[in-house]
């Protein structure tokens, strides 16, 4: 599957206007303010617009955003709360929990634990909920682009 996919990428790349735009014609846009974007084959862009509007793509996008945005907000708030607590309330953080383990040490180890846990959860979510549909969409998009390229 992977092999097949990799070969497909190689073949598509040569006819890919995006690649050409980056590889060669890129400097042709002049740097003046708000100049018109470089003319590109409208067909290729139409393919992307069409795929973007498709239900399958919107579903992948929704699944990705619905996992990532809350998760990112949660761990950033948790990290900032930890840092702010350590800096502003050291007495609270110094409170013993068990033996030599105090709140600060437990919270620090908690940061490690939540990072590992979220990594695992994200990998699982991506593997089970996104990868298959994304791969199919990639295949479809490249097929459509190639047909338009001819």
């Amino acid at each position: 599957m992977d092999m097949h996919n990799a070969r497909d990428t190689g073949a598509a790349r040569r006819e890919d206007p995006w690649y050409d735009a980056l590889a060669s014609g890129w400097g042709e846009t002049d740097g003046t303010a708000e100049g018109p974007p470089r003319a590109r084959p409208p067909a290729a862009q139409a393919v992307y617009t069409e795929v973007h509007a498709s239900a399958a793509f919107q579903e992948v996008r929704r699944r990705y955003r619905r996992f990532v945005f809350p998760a990112a907000a949660a761990f950033l708030i948790w990290y900032l709360a930890y840092v702010v607590a350590a800096i502003t309330a050291p007495q609270l953080m110094a409170r013993p929990v068990v033996g030599t383990l105090n709140v600060a040490m437990a919270a620090g180890l908690g940061q490690f634990a939540t990072t590992f846990l979220l990594t695992w959860a994200y990998a699982r979510h991506a593997r089970l909920r996104r990868d298959r549909v994304a791969l199919e969409l990639r295949w479809v998009t490249q097929e459509m682009t190639r047909r338009h390229g001819r």
Partner: protein
């Protein structure tokens, strides 16, 4: 350090240098000189290889010796510091790695230019990438000079200068001749050595305390002279409110900056797909997390076994805590085991420095050649092969500049430079990256504003900060023009970077008036999430 230790350490340095040069020669055989090969090593590394290389790129000598030294001196505040370095990887995993792999080809600027298609965006991103790299590189070079001098026991200026020159020359050779393939393998070898060394020392510490972490912590607290305070925050970052705000600023820069470091982003292009990029980040999170946990054990172990005073006597910044701990764990000064362990730790620190500086040099030479030279000279007919030649020359130029700056900054306190590099990456690179991947309305004007609006405040605030002027430890201690109280600009410059990107976008022409804006956004999103047409 005794003569035996020094000659053994130098022998091991030599072995590592020979091994890395062999890798470079091997990677340079059958060279084609294509950009794909030079910048990405052919995009054929496996996730595990890339995960080790990312870890090798990220874990600097400052992490290995610096953080454990910080813990040995100040206890819990060192733990507080290293958590930021680790949690930052969640930003990389969740919102950056896969999308950057799908949308870009060689550099950070590729991701932005792919959507904006404007030269000024690429130039802005190129300038900020090179700035971040140079800041980080100078910090590493100066650190290398004092560290190696400390480890081999030659504290004179001459040994430091030769170390800076030697490290600079080697990194130029690795990058200019071996490109990404050699750099990656050097980082993999270094990551294996570092993890192996840290694991062995951690095991010895745990054996010493019979696996009883409670006993380890209470002995550390007792031998530190601070008692229970040693295990709670406040010894280093708990001074007046300026110092406390400074740490919050640093914490913000660390957690958001990692995802904007050019040498980390360029590593995602060395694997074939976004899925492989995700798996390599998962590998690196496992390695880096395990490494920092071991660093914590080593730091408290050094405090418990040696005592904080002994560590401070040897080096005021605590950088010799781990080597001294190794000496003690191996059987003490004069014993064979101690000599060998000390020399091994010194050699690992040296390997670490070399691998990190090679990665940064490669990323900055890619930015110079691909983003700056490429867009300025395209009209004159610059071929991909010519661009690689420029990149190799740029690597030499950057190496010479880094050696020069490293020698000039030799006596200066440059520890703030690492924090500054992270702050600049978080203020200039991350906002523009997130906006162009996730914000439909974002425009080229907003991108340019975002990069400069984050980069300039970061640099200007540091120039106006107490690290440059006004204090006894400042770079220019004779004059005082400091207006900004904090050492790290992140708390101000990161919000400014986001604000500037937003302002530049909403004050420009509405996207509905720009032809193709919606289609370009749709194309970016489809490419980012599916990998269609990825390089």
């Amino acid at each position: 350090m005794t003569g035996d230790q020094r000659s053994l350490a130098l022998l091991l340095f030599g072995v590592f240098v020979v091994a890395t040069l062999t890798i470079t020669a091997w990677a340079g055989r059958r060279r084609h000189g294509s950009p794909e090969e030079f910048y990405t090593g052919g995009r054929l590394f496996s996730p595990m290889e890339n995960g080790f290389a990312i870890a090798g790129d990220y874990m600097s000598a400052a992490s290995f010796l610096g953080i454990s030294g910080l813990i040995a001196l100040f206890g819990y505040d060192g733990v507080l510091y290293c958590v930021g370095f680790f949690v930052a990887w969640l930003v990389v995993l969740l919102v950056v790695a896969e999308l950057v792999r799908n949308c870009g080809r060689f550099t950070l600027a590729d991701v932005l230019a792919a959507r904006m298609r404007e030269r000024r965006v690429r130039i802005a991103a190129g300038i900020s990438s090179v700035t971040v790299c140079v800041l980080y590189l100078v910090a590493q070079m100066v650190g290398a000079g004092s560290l190696v001098a400390l480890l081999i026991g030659e504290t004179g200026g001459r040994a430091r200068a030769w170390t800076v020159i030697g490290v600079g020359t080697l990194m130029v050779v690795f990058v200019a001749l071996g490109g990404m393939r050699a750099t990656t393998w050097i980082q993999i070898v270094k990551a294996v050595l570092l993890m192996g060394g840290a694991t062995a020392l951690t095991a010895l510490v745990l054996i010493r305390f019979r696996g009883d972490l409670d006993a380890l912590l209470s002995t550390a607290a007792h031998n530190s002279g601070h008692g229970a305070d040693f295990l709670a925050p406040g010894l280093k970052y708990g001074g007046d409110w300026t110092a406390r705000l400074d740490f919050i600023s640093l914490g913000l820069a660390l957690v958001l900056g990692t995802a904007g470091l050019p040498h980390i982003l360029s590593r995602f292009y060395t694997v074939p797909t976004a899925r492989a990029a995700r798996r390599s980040v998962i590998w690196s999170i496992g390695l880096i997390g395990g490494f920092y946990l071991m660093t914590i054990v080593l730091g408290f172990g050094a405090a418990a076994v040696l005592g904080t005073d002994a560590v401070r006597t040897s080096s005021a910044a605590g950088n010799t805590a781990v080597p001294l701990l190794a000496l003690d764990l191996g059987g003490g000064a004069g014993s064979t085991g101690g000599t060998v362990l000390f020399a091994v730790v010194a050699a690992i620190a040296f390997a670490t420095i070399l691998a990190v500086v090679a990665g940064i040099t490669l990323a900055s030479s890619a930015s110079v050649a691909h983003d700056l030279y490429g867009s300025l000279r395209r009209r004159a007919g610059c071929t991909p092969r010519g661009e690689v030649v420029v990149a190799r020359i740029a690597a030499v130029g950057i190496g010479v500049a880094a050696i020069g700056l490293g020698l000039l900054a030799d006596d200066l306190n440059v520890a703030f430079l690492v924090g500054l590099a992270f702050a600049a990456a978080a203020s200039a690179n991350l906002p523009v990256l997130l906006y162009s991947l996730f914000w439909r309305r974002f425009t080229a004007r907003g991108a340019v504003w975002s990069v400069y609006g984050g980069l300039l405040p970061a640099v200007v605030l540091v120039v106006l900060s107490p690290v440059v002027s006004g204090g006894p430890d400042a770079i220019f201690s004779g004059v005082d023009f400091h207006l900004f109280p904090l050492q790290n600009p992140g708390l101000v410059s990161v919000p400014l970077g986001f604000l500037a990107g937003w302002l530049g976008t909403v004050t420009g022409p509405a996207p509905a008036d720009v032809p193709g804006h919606a289609a370009q956004h749709a194309e970016t999103e489809v490419r980012a999430l599916t990998g269609a047409g990825a390089a």
